[in-house]
Symmetry: C3
Subunit: 190 residues, 3 copies
Amino acid sequence: MRLGPRQILVLFVIGALGGLAGDQAHVASGATHYIDHSLPFIWRSEIWFPVAVGLGTVSVADLRLRLAPPQAPFDLREAVVGIASVLAIYAITAIVTDEATGSSVLLVTMLAALVAARFADGWPALVCGAAAALFGPAIEIAVVKADIASYGSNVDGLFGVAPWLPMLYFSFGVVVARLAEMASGDCTHG
Amino acid sequence: MRLGPRQILVLFVIGALGGLAGDQAHVASGATHYIDHSLPFIWRSEIWFPVAVGLGTVSVADLRLRLAPPQAPFDLREAVVGIASVLAIYAITAIVTDEATGSSVLLVTMLAALVAARFADGWPALVCGAAAALFGPAIEIAVVKADIASYGSNVDGLFGVAPWLPMLYFSFGVVVARLAEMASGDCTHG
Amino acid sequence: MRLGPRQILVLFVIGALGGLAGDQAHVASGATHYIDHSLPFIWRSEIWFPVAVGLGTVSVADLRLRLAPPQAPFDLREAVVGIASVLAIYAITAIVTDEATGSSVLLVTMLAALVAARFADGWPALVCGAAAALFGPAIEIAVVKADIASYGSNVDGLFGVAPWLPMLYFSFGVVVARLAEMASGDCTHG
């Protein structure tokens, strides 16, 4: 692990809070629905969800730092833009729940391309985005198969999860890669 | 007042026209509805509305110049980006009138964060945004209580006004702070 | 023609693929509907549509290079941002098919203003945008009058086509002008 305890904690909290904020939108709009209620809920999420997003955030950040040396220095404004961009796309996926798949997937894919063009420093960030786009939906497909949660009937076309889900995770992976660089830079100077 | 007569007039007109453009979207989508019709209407707004937005624009601009010296020079392209960003968010609030509150508030809040990251020069702009986020909705709540206008039943959850209203006003305040700097710089060079 | 065969081919393909991606969203959302089925379909478009968009892309690019010397060098990231911005707006026009015209036109117009502020190098790009905003909808109006295709009942208010269509074409024209500059620069260095 290339991250110190403080960096791990900060990235975990950012991921968990972002996951809670986005998931409440998905639940509110009917994009997703929790079938299982055996564990406590925080806001509108069963507790494993923010924990999983937090762990995913730390994992992608660690992957980024293993791929190549960090180059981006810490920049609060840049961090705000990255996090707000991903959460805006998260909210948009909730809002387009009732829309035709062809429209929603095109929009989310183009927004993911804009995020990549803005934040990817090259192949390491794209690898992080691709890894998130692969493993994130794979885990969610397993969650749906296990009847723990489900996607709405208009957004379950990709093995039970939403067709735009890989592109949402891709944006997440690219931005977390940038956050990892910043966190690492912060570590060096701190 | 730190603004000259020409600057006051330009800012008032920008605010009034922007208010008319956004308000027609709110009325068209059913986000808002005028109960009172005792005064003349311009486009789809009762005349006090564009006047109030124009005065609010001048007031926030004056606040910005009292808080700290202006630093941003006049830049037409920057002014277009700022105004178009706020009006795009204004249009989006109209479009999400029928959406779940959790989704629409998350989206508008994240877009407001992007506007702040792009346009805020520091605490003076954030104070202007916060002032607009406080006084704008407060005045609208009074308008609703006075039965002059009302918000739609899906967007009246914040004391009768829309829950995303403070974030829309925040964006407005941050951008007007930047316009105030530009107007002032224009004055110096003119 | 100021473009070489390779530049013409690349621009035609970008335009045709972008047209296909956007048109499937318009068809999926019900914004547009093909009445005529006498020619083969690719994805969800009758074959003349991607051909027309490809030819339009080459025509606007040629116009740009006739107006003024190219100034922007080739930049893959910039090309991605331009193309993704136009296709995101294309997707948004599909998504707002059911919305009030006042809201959707305001949103698309403001997004077009943001594209212009980001990509227009001055009057040549604006002329390309204006030419696209004039001829594109004019051709589509002729297509509708010929009963080859039609717009949905909520988005046919501009002589049978959508009121936001000129602004979508304007964004297209401005970005194609930039792509033309890049393609030309690529030619010089290649």
